[in-house]
Structure formats: C-alpha cells, structure tokens
C-alpha cells in the first residue's frame, strides 16, 4: 500500500514537472468555441455554411484549392443546403480543364471537382512568396489543439472533434501588425512573413486574409443581421471548412444515435436473458 502511495506521489510530482513543457509547446491557449456541429446531436447550421462558403469563395479560393469537393456536394444532405439549380448555375460559372473537349476547357457541371486556383504546385509557390497555400479539403481535420493533461482525457468522453476548427478560427484572429511583446525572446520576423499567435513558429506566409466588411452577407429571411466582422468571417469559414472535411457528419451522427439506442436496448435484453439462464447457478 505504502509503495503504491509513494508511486502515485511520484507520478503527481512528475506530472507537475511536465506542465511547463506542455505550456512551452502550445504557444497561446486556444479558446474552444461552441459549434453547432459538436456533440451527439450536432448538425451544421445551413446559414453559417452558406456564409462560410461565401467567404471561402470570395476570399480564400483565390489561393486555396479544395480538390476533394465536388460542386454537387453543396446540394447534398447535411451540407449548406443549396438547391440543385443553384449548384448547376454555380458550376457553370467556372471553367474546368477537360482534355477530351475541344479547346481543353469547358464550363463546369455539378459532378466536377472544385477547380484548383493554380495549375501546378510551383505556380502556387511562385504566387505566394515560396509558401504553398494548403488545400482546404481535409484541412479542418489536419489541424488540432494540444490539450494539457488531464483535460484531453475528457475529450474521449465528450467526443471533442472540433480542435481543427478552433485552431483555424484562432489562427485567422491571431494576427498582429507588429511583433507583439508576447513573442518568444529574440524573435525576428523574416521578410515577407506575418506574425501570428497560433501558427507554429509564429511566422506565417499568409497575409491577414480578412478585413471587417470585406464580404457582404445577405441575411436569410427571418435571420437576424449578421455582423460583418473578421471574427464572424473567421468563425463562418472555419465551420465551412469542417463541412468540407466531414461532409457526411450529420448523417453519421444521426445513424450513430439510432445505433446507440439499439445497442442499449439489445444489451438490456441480453442482460435479462443472461440473468434468467444463470438463475439458480451459484457462480
């Protein structure tokens, strides 16, 4: 018993020593947001996805591709809820490379993937000072938060899967005009880079992409006026990126709820059956 206690004390001591190591790694703590798509009953907010799509299309898409997204996805269940006609019209606005047609390009159709903003990776780098703007298709799942011990343990029970969106939103809001006092000691911002609180290493190649009132939202019928702020844009586009990374989230969670319900009922019935069978057997 004494041994166990001593060991536990040692573990406690060790973990208190580890805390600074964690703090040094995660630059600034990222504030977790309340997303409509979090949790068991989470679903995307159609209006938010449409706003996020607008921000993506008008701002981000000039540099960031989304090669796994097809136009048709925008009309699919659990998405931004565009109609098929809207998607058809939208796709037609784009030119798609197709070597099988005359001239090599044609107007897009809903089955086409989102056209890449640059023909090659080298073109993308040349246009962006050597940095490659990452593709958005699964980016929301390719980023995450580093949660300190012990809060990451709870994530398994809450099913926290929004680390990527929280990070992206924080990144978009984490710019500074000048290197702030909170920067690591001796930090020198390289030429052509921008200071960001949350980007690993703090020197990001992307200029602050969003400004207040840059994108004009048209409120949906009965919807309250949405503020035209960087914070609102960042939140909306992060939500849209989550949808791009996980377009089947809504139906997945709906199925999950039914599966859970079945499993609990079935387990209950099996428990009763098992008890009935074992009745009278001392074990």
């Amino acid at each position: 018993m004494i041994k166990t206690k001593t060991f536990l004390a040692a573990v406690a001591l060790a973990s208190s020593l580890m805390a600074p190591a964690f703090a040094a790694e995660a630059s600034a703590p990222i504030e977790k947001q309340t997303w409509s798509f979090a949790g068991i009953f989470g679903t995307y907010d159609e209006n938010q996805l449409q706003r996020g799509f607008q921000v993506y299309r008008e701002v981000c898409a000039s540099c960031h591709g989304a090669r796994l997204i097809a136009f048709r996805n925008l009309a699919e269940y659990g998405g931004p809820g565009f109609s098929e006609e809207q998607v058809k019209a939208l796709a037609a606005e784009y030119e798609v490379v197709d070597p099988t047609v005359e001239g090599g390009v044609r107007a897009g159709v809903p089955a086409d993937r989102w056209p890449s903003p640059f023909p090659t990776e080298q073109d993308a780098r040349d246009a962006n000072g050597g940095s490659l703007p990452p593709d958005f298709s699964v980016l929301a799942k390719a980023r995450g938060l580093v949660d300190p011990f012990p809060s990451w343990i709870f994530n398994y029970f809450t099913g926290y899967s929004e680390g990527g969106v929280d990070y992206i939103r924080a990144l978009l809001l984490g710019y500074h005009d000048e290197v702030p006092a909170s920067a690591p000691e001796g930090f020198v911002l390289p030429e052509g880079k921008y200071y960001n609180d949350y980007f690993p290493g703090h020197a990001i190649g992307m200029a602050p992409p969003l400004q207040d009132e840059q994108v004009t939202y048209t409120p949906a019928e009965g919807e309250a006026e949405v503020p035209l702020t960087v914070e609102q844009y960042a939140t909306d586009v992060a939500a849209f990126m989550m949808w791009m990374a996980e377009p089947g989230l809504v139906s997945r969670k709906e199925t999950g709820f039914r599966v859970m319900l079945f499993l609990f009922l079935f387990a209950g019935l099996l428990y009763l059956t098992k008890r009935r069978i074992w009745k009278g057997i001392e074990h």
Binding site: K3, S161, R252, K253, M260, L270, I277, H283
Partner: protein, 416 residues
C-alpha cells in the same frame, strides 16, 4: 475431447455425415457442451470479444480493399473517396480504423487478465505463447495498416519503424531494403505493406484457431485458479457462456460505436490528414497509442553499452520486452495461479500495470527533459518486474489458503 461427447445423430443424414466428416459432433462438443468453469468473471469475456474484433477487421477490411488504391499518388485520395463517395464508406472506414484501437484495448485487457490470474501457468504454456505470438503479429498488421492511408504519420511512422531493422548487425541494411523495397519508403513499400496487411489477419485467424484448440485441451483457467475437480464445478458452454459472451460483446460495442459515430478521428493523429511528404518531417513522430509502450522501450536506450550502439541497444530492449512475455511461465514458478491468493504479487501487479500505462504515456511525449529519465525508469521497471520480481516472489511469497474447489468457493461467496 471426445469424452464429453453426448452427440447422437438425429437422423440418417446426420449419421451419414458424422461417419464421414463429424462437424456436427465437433460443434456440439466444442461450442455447446464444452465444460467451462462456472465462476468465470467478465474479464473472461474478452476472448470472445477479440474473436469479434478480428471478424470485424477482416470483413470491413475486405470491403475497404475493394475501393482502396495502393499507390503513393492515389492512396490518400482513395481513402477520402471511400469516406465521401462509397455507400456507407464513412462508417466502414471508421469502423476499421477505430476497430484497430478497440482490438488492442481488448487485447491488452485479455493479456492483463491472464497475467493477474496466472493463466499462463502449466498446463497452459502453449496456449499462452500462441497468444503472445498473436499479439505480436497483430501489432505488425496494425502498423502496416496505419501506413496505407499514406498520411504524414503513415509515411514517417513507416520510416522510423523500418529503420529499426537497420540496427541488426551484418544483415540489417539488406533487411531494411527488402522491407522498403528500395532505399527509402516509397511506392514499393506501400504495395508490399498492403499485400502483407491483407495476408496477416488470415495468419492471425489460423493462430487463433490453434489458440482455441490449445484452450480446449486443458480447459479454461478461472478466477481462483483451482483446477476443475468435478462436473459440479462446470457448466456447458452453451447456453451459459454463449449468452454471457454475447452480452459482453454488445456492451463492448457501445464504446466502439461511440467512437465510430461521434469521434471517428479522436484516436488518430491530425497529421495523418496531411498527405505523405518526404520533404517535410512532422514535429513529433508518434505511433498509434497501442504501440507506444514498446516505442518507449525502443527509445529509452539512448546510450552505448560496450560495443552495442544505442540504436541496436534499443532494438534489443524492445525485442527482449516481448521475449519477457514469452518466457513468463518459466519466470513465475509460484504454484498458486490466481493473484487473488498472492498477497504480495497483487501489489506488484498493480505497480506493473501503472508502469505499463506510464510507458504508454511516455511514448507520446517528446524525447526531452524529464520524459527521457522517466522512460528509462519505466523501461527498467518493466524488466525488473519480469526478471527479478516474479522469480523472487515465486520463492519467498506465502500464498493465502486456496479453496478446495470452485463449487466450494462460489458457495462461500454466496453465503458471505
């Protein structure tokens, strides 16, 4: 075990079959009448749960293979294609990925149950050794499976793990090239890993058959570790344990489904959603959680011992950590099987368990500062437990008095 046979062919057709291929007799003896100790607790249901896990991985894996493309330029997108465009693909893919973690969770519980109740002791050594071999092969299969989505962790994990083999003297370098199919991890690596990842589960399934055969010779151990003395100590496998196992399987499916439907990516690493890039090394290369204890042991040796350099030392330590498991039946020679009746062993077992969790935790931490020291301490204790604690305890420990039989012990419990 024909002595248990109560099978009587019901009609002429069954009799005809029984004289030629007695499958019905076999099923009746081994799946229905098999005498099983009546005092098995829920820790014993993980054998059946593991059979289910293997089945789930094989079925989902075969379906995934129909849509997956093992090519470095297409693999990453083909997995996304499964998630996005294949009917039910998101669920099948998530089941397979989460299933690997659930498989190992069950596997570790099964192993630790065995270690506590002394199930590895005579006459079950072969049964136990087959189990350890299954465990090692499952780690190999899981590792190769993790490479297939061709994300950053896939690529760099493959690079780091295959590099282990280069530490082997003389043949190391050739072995490394044979594994990778070239000088670096690339398309040939992905192709051979895919092929082996498809092959290994069937090898594992065959070993599971041997494992169950070896179980059915001496029969189950049980929580008090006292041999079955009479038929009063046992119940037929069906319906008693078929029902209990089925109930446990469905319970196990609840956390399984929780991860599949509500957090399918939480057990993986975000970096694996970035396509493999040989030019960019991730900040921390971390294997999947179930390989972490052994990864810690591998990394813990960062010093040279005489003519053995640190890299080879790490490989030897990791190899020995598995050899230690294989020889446990001969390290722990205590006559009493169950930890319930071993007052000192019980506490060392808890310490070993905590130490093992510590090894898992440390494997995910960067190799710097306090973690390096802790990793060495935990690694040393892992070996001390097997090579010092177990043999010494076998000699000095005075076990508690054992019940004379299973029936007596369960009666005592009921009236207590």
């Amino acid at each position: 075990m024909s002595e248990h046979s109560t099978y009587v062919p019901g009609n002429a057709a069954e009799k005809w079959l029984d004289e030629r291929l007695p499958v019905a007799r076999f099923a009746k003896e081994h799946l229905m009448d098999f005498p099983t100790p009546k005092n098995l607790n829920y820790w014993w249901t993980f054998g059946a749960i593991l059979v289910m896990c293997l089945g789930v991985q094989i079925v989902t894996g075969i379906i995934l293979a129909m849509h997956y493309t093992p090519n470095v330029n297409l693999a990453f997108d083909s997995v996304e294609h499964i998630r996005r465009d294949v009917n039910g693909g998101r669920i099948i893919q998530a089941t397979h990925a989460v299933g690997a973690s659930m498989f190992f969770a069950a596997l570790y519980i099964h192993i630790f149950r065995n270690l506590f109740f002394g199930s590895y002791k005579a006459p079950r050594e072969i049964l136990y050794i087959l189990g350890v071999i299954i465990f090692i092969l499952t780690m190999a299969a899981a590792f190769m499976g993790y490479v297939l989505p061709w994300g950053q962790m896939s690529f760099w994990g493959a690079t780091v793990i295959t590099n282990i083999f280069s530490a082997i003297p003389v043949v190391g370098e050739s072995l490394l090239q044979l594994l990778r199919g070239g000088f670096a991890v690339g398309n040939p690596t992905l192709n051979r890993f895919f092929s082996l990842h498809y092959l290994l589960p069937f090898v594992i399934a065959a070993l599971v058959a041997l494992h169950i055969w070896a179980l059915h010779v001496p029969g189950n151990n049980n929580p008090i570790g006292v041999d079955v003395k009479s038929t009063r100590d046992t119940v037929p496998f069906h319906p008693y344990y078929t029902l209990k196992d089925l109930y446990a399987m469905v319970l196990f499916m609840i956390p399984f489904a929780w991860f599949i439907f509500f957090a399918p990516d939480i057990l993986g690493h975000p970096d694996n959603y970035i396509q493999a890039n040989s030019q960019v090394t991730p900040t921390h290369i971390v294997p999947e959680w179930y390989l972490l204890p052994f990864y810690t042991i591998l990394r813990a040796v960062d010093f040279n011992i005489l003519f053995i350099n640190s890299q080879l030392g790490g490989v030897i330590a990791m190899g020995m950590s598995m050899v230690a498991l294989l020889v446990v039946p001969w390290l722990d020679t205590a006559r009493v099987r169950s930890g319930l009746f071993r007052p000192i062993f019980k506490w060392f077992y808890v310490l070993f368990l905590i130490n093992f969790i510590g090894l898992t935790y440390l494997g995910a931490q960067p190799a710097e500062g306090i973690y390096v020291t802790l990793a060495k301490v935990c690694t040393a204790y892992y070996f001390i437990h097997f090579f010092v604690v177990l043999p010494v305890l076998s000699r000095i420990e005075k076990p508690l008095p054992l019940p004379t039989s299973i029936s007596e012990s369960v009666l005592g419990k009921a009236h207590a």
